[in-house]
């Protein structure tokens, strides 16, 4: 798909059209006793960027693991709810099958093969029934998007910088021919200007490759900038959702996620108390 073709799909600012991924009323339980995520529902429409925001322990990563099929590794299971991808139920399938459906995850940590070269890192991510010529074309295109990688083709990935690792991880994910790319903590450990730059490339990739993107983020400021829709998670539930404008204008979102707004509160303890007592939707 050429760039122009991608641009025809104008970024819709309202959630509409057919959803590529639907999570309905998801409940995940660890070790059969600890409920990590409860009643989570979210949708990712085609060709859109959706972001899920939240602090540590909000249940973001658990949700991602449920979608990508990695729950059994941590002795967790989906107790209620469903996950559908393009009309097909994928809850409980093994990870490699989910990957072959077209859901590709760029994980938070250990996202590249450090002992392989950059080129081998890309080579490892091939789709079984794809033609090699097609794959080569894709790889060259990605080197166009991330020229830094092209220069380090034969180097071991373990020697890449944090930003380059993130680029390599995204490139690797894209070579799996995803319909939906899930990026877990793109901003983790990266300088703010680098994050901004990466976010812009993500937007570019969405158009170029015609994919949907689910961004799991703590850095709300930069994620809201490129997203079409956002969810906020706290304590294993989705507590707020809406368009970027709606999120940006909500007082509590400003206070806790965007670091702006606030009316003179200074003490962290006060904030904590406030957080405990206030209700969303109120």
């Amino acid at each position: 798909m050429a760039i122009t073709a991608g641009l025809q799909v104008s970024p819709t600012r309202e959630i509409e059209g057919s959803a590529i991924l639907t999570v309905a009323n998801l409940e995940v339980v660890y070790s059969r006793v600890i409920v990590a995520v409860q009643g989570v529902s979210l949708k990712v429409p085609e060709h859109s960027i959706v972001t899920v925001l939240g602090t540590n322990g909000a249940g973001k990563s658990t949700t991602v693991r449920a979608i990508s099929g990695f729950l059994p590794v941590d002795d967790a299971e989906i107790r209620k709810g469903s996950i559908h991808f393009r009309g097909q139920s994928i809850g409980g399938l093994p990870p490699y099958q989910i990957a072959r459906f077209g859901i590709v995850l760029v994980p938070e940590r250990r996202k590249i093969f450090e002992t392989l070269t950059v080129w081998d890192n890309l080579r490892i991510a091939h789709v079984r029934n794809d033609k090699p010529s097609n794959w080569n074309q894709q790889a060259e295109r990605l080197f166009g998007v991330f020229p830094a990688l092209a220069a380090r083709r034969e180097q071991l990935a373990g020697y890449l910088s944090g930003g380059e690792r993130q680029m390599l991880a995204i490139a690797q994910g894209l070579l799996c021919d995803p319909k939906l790319l899930i990026v877990d903590e793109l901003s983790l450990g990266l300088a703010p200007n680098l994050v901004h730059d990466l976010m812009e490339r993500i937007q570019q990739l969405r158009h170029e490759f015609g994919i949907s993107i689910l961004l799991i983020e703590q850095d709300a400021l930069s994620a809201i900038e490129i997203a079409d829709y956002g969810y906020i998670m706290e304590g294993g539930r989705i507590v707020f959702e809406g368009s970027p404008e709606k999120l940006r204008n909500h007082k509590d979102v400003q206070e806790f996620y965007l670091g702006s707004g606030g009316d003179g509160r200074t003490s962290y303890r006060e904030v904590k108390q406030y957080r405990r007592s206030r209700r969303w939707w109120g």
Binding site: Y96, F113, T115, D120, L156, Q172
Partner: protein
């Protein structure tokens, strides 16, 4: 250097080739599943017996018998991984090692139950094995020894290349470094690991076939296969090239001990060398501490 020296070096070379075949099996399995496979010796015996069975059934057809041995070994390796090691993934290292010990004794009793503890000589089925090939004037090597050295050479040169260049090799290395990520990239890690186990078991079987043709075949030769972990550890468990050096060191110690000290000591020589080597360099000669730059 007299004739005696050269022929002694040839003996060392042959023994080292044998250890190369065994040691690489240990390394392959370790890299794939982080398990030290103490059942390797018994897998070797099992493969050799399959070969022997093939010889008996086909009344002496070597190609068919070798095919039987190799296919059977590959199947056994894959079954061991899928049936036993996969369910134990994620347990502590100790559990994996203990499981392979348990597997070893199960395999040994199965082998003894099927073929009895009797010693056999498959070489009887094949003529011309001891036929000498003259290398230079006055120095010759028997046909079977030549085949052993050649096979080991092919493995030393071919296997690292295969892992470095081929698509499946890259997948194997990826899975061994980060299985979770490999699964996320659409690689069926279990079939890749099963392949590693199958390949290692085939190498063990080949070593077993050579040993049974050169010396003898019986359930008690597992000891020879077990000794193969010494060169693997001396070389560093994550390095295929290290195995070759480790094999040379162990073979030298063993052959010299057998020639100049006592056969009892020669049996323990690989382990003695291993203890010394581990004391000097705990992570092996070529193993990397950080495990960065594996092959």
């Amino acid at each position: 250097m007299g004739y005696a020296h050269v022929s002694l070096m040839l003996v060392i070379l042959i023994q080292a080739s044998f250890y190369v075949l065994l040691g690489m099996g240990y390394v392959l399995i370790y890299r794939a599943t982080r398990v030290l496979n103490l059942a390797h010796g018994d897998l070797m015996v099992f493969g050799a017996f399959l070969f022997y069975q093939g010889l008996v059934i086909t009344s002496g057809s070597v190609p068919l018998a070798i095919t039987t041995g190799i296919l059977g070994a590959a199947l056994t390796g894959a079954i061991v991984y899928l049936g036993l090691m996969r369910p134990l993934a994620g347990y502590p290292v100790a559990v994996g090692v203990l499981a392979t010990i348990a597997l070893a004794i199960v395999l040994r009793s199965v082998t003894t139950a099927i073929w009895s503890g009797q010693t056999r000589y498959p070489a009887e089925y094949i003529g011309q094995l001891a036929r000498p090939i003259e290398l230079v004037s006055g120095l010759s090597i028997s046909a079977i020894d030549a085949v052993i050295v050649l096979t080991a050479l092919i493995c030393i040169l071919g296997l690292p290349l295969l892992l470095r260049r081929s698509a499946i090799g890259v997948e194997m290395r990826g899975v061994s470094e980060n299985a979770l990520l490999a699964a996320q990239r659409g690689i069926n890690i279990h079939s890749v690991n099963a392949l590693s186990w199958a390949a290692a078991t085939v190498m063990a079987a080949i070593a077993g076939i050579f040993f049974s043709l050169k010396v003898r075949l019986g359930p008690d030769i597992w000891y020879v296969g077990l000794a193969g972990f010494a060169p693997a550890l001396i070389g560093g468990m994550d390095s295929l090239r290290g195995v070759a050096i480790g094999a040379l060191i162990v073979a030298t110690a063993e052959v010299l001990a057998a020639r100049f000290i006592a056969p009892q000591i020669a049996l323990a020589a690989p382990f003695l060398v291993l203890l010394v080597a581990l004391w000097i360099r705990p992570w092996g000669l070529f193993g990397s501490r950080e495990e960065l730059e594996r092959i």
